[in-house]
């Protein structure tokens, strides 16, 4: 075999490759070592991709959404201070971990002796939280639209597991704040209701529960969670009534909008979260807590019960 290989014909190349010359050996070595490495990198990437459980943080400005996010972030990176916060202008997505002591909802399918339960301390469950700005002007473009996109999404990576709606319990006594908060919550629940209703019966959509996180319970003027629930329910009831009588939007003429829906059922019963769960299937829970708590206690002890709720959604 001459060294001038015949690269033009197939047989020529084949002969060359089986000939045992350096090029062929190099190609073979590259192939044997390269393939497993590429495969490893590919699959390793897939595993390390961000977790697929998303939670959306909504609520009026000043309720403590960003503070809650940074607190979760600080907790999951084991630092002991969380930075102070101001009014947000942008939404952010952060990946945080669930403390190993918080049980997850999927635990009920596991045996007590399941070894993966013990592994939780070493391999904590991660989830993502999207913090949204609560200012009235930014709500529609960042909060509500995000909720719509995430709740309709078919993609597993952006699927929404739950909505956390932050409420400042110390400010709820103020009539204007209460109205603002309840209006926002009303809009959020309306979107979730539409989603639950539109989901065809054959392909059942997973429900998205809502946690009304009654924040700032550490303050003196704070309302207890029970009172928060009552106030919000009665206010939403009033909003619902006035919405049915209100004017149409300008876009109604051009037929862009589908017909207006109202929250809950049409009957004259007063609105309550329980009724909403019963009739529509949107679960709402009110749980108290505080982002900024007692300085003597461990960081973030006030949000423990919210984390438990998040755990139950996972």
């Amino acid at each position: 075999m001459s060294s001038q290989a015949n690269w033009n014909s197939v047989t020529g190349i084949a002969t060359l490759l089986f000939d045992g010359n350096l090029v062929a050996i190099a190609i073979a070595i590259l192939f044997t070592f390269g393939v497993p490495i590429t495969l490893h990198i590919l699959f390793f990437r897939a595993v390390a991709s961000p977790p697929s459980s998303n939670f959306l943080l909504l609520g009026p400005s000043g309720a403590g959404k960003t503070a809650f996010t940074t607190l979760l972030e600080a907790k999951s990176s084991l630092s002991n201070t969380s930075p102070s916060t101001h009014t947000s202008q942008q939404s952010t997505l952060v990946t945080v971990t669930l403390p190993p002591t918080v049980p997850t909802g999927s635990n009920r399918y596991r045996s007590v002796n399941d070894p993966s339960l013990k592994e939780a301390t070493r391999n904590p469950i991660r989830y993502r939280v999207r913090d949204t700005p609560g200012h009235g002007k930014l709500r529609a473009s960042q909060g509500i639209s995000e909720l719509q996109a995430m709740s309709q999404s078919k993609d597993i990576k952006t699927k929404l597991r739950g909505v956390v709606f932050m409420v400042d319990t110390a400010a709820l006594l103020d009539e204007a704040t209460l109205r603002d908060t309840a209006t926002y919550l009303h809009d959020v629940l309306l979107i979730l209701q539409k989603r639950a209703k539109n989901g065809s019966s054959s392909k059942r959509t997973t429900e998205i529960p809502v946690l009304v996180a009654a924040n700032k319970l550490d303050l003196f003027t704070a309302l207890p969670p029970g009172a928060v629930k009552e106030k919000l329910e009665s206010e939403i009831d009033r909003i619902r009534k006035s919405k049915t009588k209100g004017l149409l939007d300008a876009s109604a003429d051009s037929g862009l909008m589908d017909d207006e829906e109202i929250l809950g059922n049409d009957d004259q019963e007063a609105f309550s979260f329980k009724l909403l769960e019963h009739e529509v299937g949107v679960k709402v829970e009110v749980v108290g807590g505080s982002v900024k708590g007692d300085p003597q206690e461990e960081l973030g002890s006030g949000v423990r019960r919210w984390e438990e709720w998040i755990g139950m959604c996972l």
Binding site: T66, R238, L247, A250
Partner: protein, 645 residues
């Protein structure tokens, strides 16, 4: 003097902050709300090197926004003082911070990381103060006595009134803070080896103690509590005894004359690490005070090199000329324009922005509003990268749409029925029910009476008892016109089994404010739910007619004042909105706009934007036809769609 300096992200997290006096969080929050979100306050077109300013309460805030990293640098100082070097400080600090923490800020732990930035900041403040510090220094002697108790107020006491003494004292505290910083771990070991820590400490302490003023010692002491960043690095023992041993005299002021030096040495005996740190800092301090220079040399050089480097970069980017270079850039720019990922510059945007402005003008947006909108979009876009496969035009369009949406979306949604209910039948016992008063103002012939009767029809359908007050006591036929409307509406409401309507009129020539007041009283006595007040049309630039509105607002005290504006009006809409908004005296503004005759303009609904842009007041209703039922709420997506079409 500088009260506080904060570095925060657009998502609202404070990355680093330093405060010399307690400044409420609401000060910076209101800056974000008013300037960045609601755009109520529009910064003047920035001259070179001057940062925009914003005033709130007794503070002035200056800020610098860095688009690339989404960071906002805010400096807060008392409005009484005129600090020329704040602009330079903002400029330098932002350059240094970004240079030092570029990678951290981009990383995903950016929000919770601790940034050890204090010493760089102190260095800058000192340097800039020194360069123009003469007027700062001259006040010091005369306020020397007052200072000590005031400085100690940063332990949580209420902030004292803005006495110049406090203000001047703070840089002193800052100086002390930085000098104790100098004992950072790297430099500690070799110096502590040279001498026995304890003896060294005592002599070193005596130096500044004897030579410097009481104030200087105090400053060094108080800075331990003031700067949070220091605490992490310094041993706790230093801090706690300093706090514990502070004595308070009868008048509640800190008494620090006794045993300040002893306070320091006492914990030092117990802890081996702390005296070393203290010793170094004390020595450095003594030496440097003698020379009158406080700056640690390496730090100063480092900062200088960062700044020089940034300057060089800047000049290089502006000076990169030459035919080959520019030609290459042009090709690259063209390519980027197609593929995306191009960093936008002012010159890139000039042409498309001009086109966008033309487009807005064609949509009947007033020129002033269009120019301001385009400027806002330009500010937002310059320095940003376009997305993948996104041309400049597309990026501009998206930005314009979002800023239109932001303008038109009201800060708090207005649910009129809900508000009427809250007043007419309050849920709490503290409030007594009273009629809800709405009044309508506007230029002649825009459709005040027509829109009033449309609102009336809408309220009647919701079964309210409505009183129409005819306060146009000027134009002949105005009362008769309203009477016709009232008769028609009465007829309709009887047929539809709706609410009840009545008209209240006192003829012509009377004072409108008095008639309005009487009407409200009459409504309260006769249990009406809503009072709708019609007013005479007036030209917005007629001072005599406009001035009567102030009295009107005071007498009738309406819950809502709506202004009717035509969709047809062009550039004048801005002045109309502004003048009417200011006509009701201080503390009273318009509550909303009603844009009438929207059916006559097709998609040229620019007036909506012009009016809201001029005042920041939301649009409540749109009139879209001749019938009583042709009243609509505003739908923001609809309006934005029409405008961008």
């Amino acid at each position: 003097m500088l009260e506080a300096f904060e570095i925060l992200t657009a998502s609202g997290v404070v990355l680093w902050s330093k405060s010399y006096a307690p400044v409420g969080a609401h000060i910076i929050n209101s800056l974000i709300n008013d300037v960045f979100i609601e755009e109520k306050v529009v910064p003047q077109s920035p001259a070179a090197g001057v940062s925009p300013a914003y005033k709130k309460e007794k503070y002035t805030l200056k800020w610098k926004r860095v688009k690339e990293f989404d960071l906002i640098f805010v400096a807060v100082y008392q409005s009484l003082l005129h600090l020329g070097w704040i602009d330079k400080l903002l400029e330098n600090i932002s350059t240094i911070f970004i240079d030092l923490y570029k990678d951290q800020v981009r990383g995903n732990r950016a929000r919770i990381q601790t940034y050890r930035f204090d010493q760089y900041f102190e260095q800058q403040v000192r340097e800039l103060e020194d360069s123009r510090g003469s007027f700062v220094e001259e006040y010091v002697p005369e306020t020397g006595e007052k200072k000590d108790p005031l400085v100690s107020s940063d332990n949580g006491g209420p902030p004292p009134p803005s006495a110049p003494g406090l203000v001047k004292a703070q840089p002193r505290a800052a100086l002390g803070g930085a000098t104790s910083d100098e004992g950072t771990p790297p430099s500690t070991p070799d110096i502590s080896r040279t001498s026995t820590p304890q003896g060294h400490l005592l002599t070193a302490k005596a130096g500044p103690g004897g030579r410097g003023s009481r104030r200087a010692r105090k400053a060094a002491n108080s800075s331990a509590n003031a700067s949070s960043g220091d605490e992490a690095r310094k041993g706790k023992p230093v801090k706690t005894p300093a706090k514990k041993m502070r004595k308070w005299d009868a008048s509640g002021m800190a008494d620090e004359d006794d045993g300040e030096i002893l306070d320091y040495s006492a914990p030092a005996e117990g802890d081996a690490a702390v005296p070393a740190v203290e010793a170094v800092s004390a020595e450095d301090w003594g030496r440097r005070t003698g020379k009158g220079e406080f700056v640690l040399k390496e730090l100063g050089e480092e900062v200088q090199s960062i700044l020089d480097h940034a300057d060089a970069e800047k000049s290089k980017s502006t000076a990169s000329s030459g035919v080959v270079g520019s030609g290459f850039n042009a090709i690259g720019g063209f390519f980027r324009n197609v593929v995306g990922g191009k960093v936008l510059t002012e010159s890139d945007l000039q042409k498309p922005l001009k086109a966008m402005e033309e487009h807005l003008l064609k949509k009947n947006v007033a020129r002033e509003a269009a120019v301001r909108l385009c400027e806002g979009v330009q500010r937002e876009l310059v320095g940003k990268k376009t997305g993948n496969f996104q041309s400049i035009d597309a990026a501009l369009r998206v930005a314009m749409e979002s800023s239109l949406r932001k303008i038109l979306t009201p800060t708090s949604s207005l649910d009129l029925l809900r508000e009427i209910n809250a007043v007419v039948s309050p849920t709490t016992n503290q409030q007594t029910p009273r009629p809800y008063v709405m009044s309508i103002v506007g230029v002649n012939g825009v459709g005040k009476s027509t829109n009033l009767s449309k609102i009336c029809y809408f309220l009647l359908q919701n079964k309210y008892r409505v009183l129409i007050a005819a306060c146009d006591t000027f134009r002949s036929g105005a009362v008769e016109q309203l009477r016709v409307h009232a008769d028609r509406l009465k007829e309709l409401s009887v047929r539809e089994n709706a609410g009840d309507v009545e008209i209240y009129q006192k003829g012509y020539g009377k004072d409108a404010a008095n008639v309005a007041k009487d009407a409200v009283d009459y409504a309260a006595a006769n249990k009406f739910d809503v009072v709708l007040i019609d007013t005479a049309g007036r030209r917005h630039n007629d001072q005599r007619l406009m001035s009567s509105l102030e009295k009107f607002a005071k007498f009738a005290n309406p819950d809502k004042i709506f202004m009717v504006g035509e969709a047809l009006v062009g550039t004048d809409s801005v002045m109309q909105a502004r003048n009417f908004n200011q006509a009701f005296g201080t503390g009273r503004n318009l509550d909303g706009f009603i844009i009438s005759k929207c059916d006559t303009v097709g998609d040229m609904v620019g007036t909506l934007v012009s009016m809201v842009h001029a005042t920041g007041i939301p649009i409540v209703f749109l009139g879209v036809g001749q019938h009583y039922g042709d009243l609509r709420g505003l739908s923001v997506p609809w309006a934005v769609d029409l405008l961008m079409k």
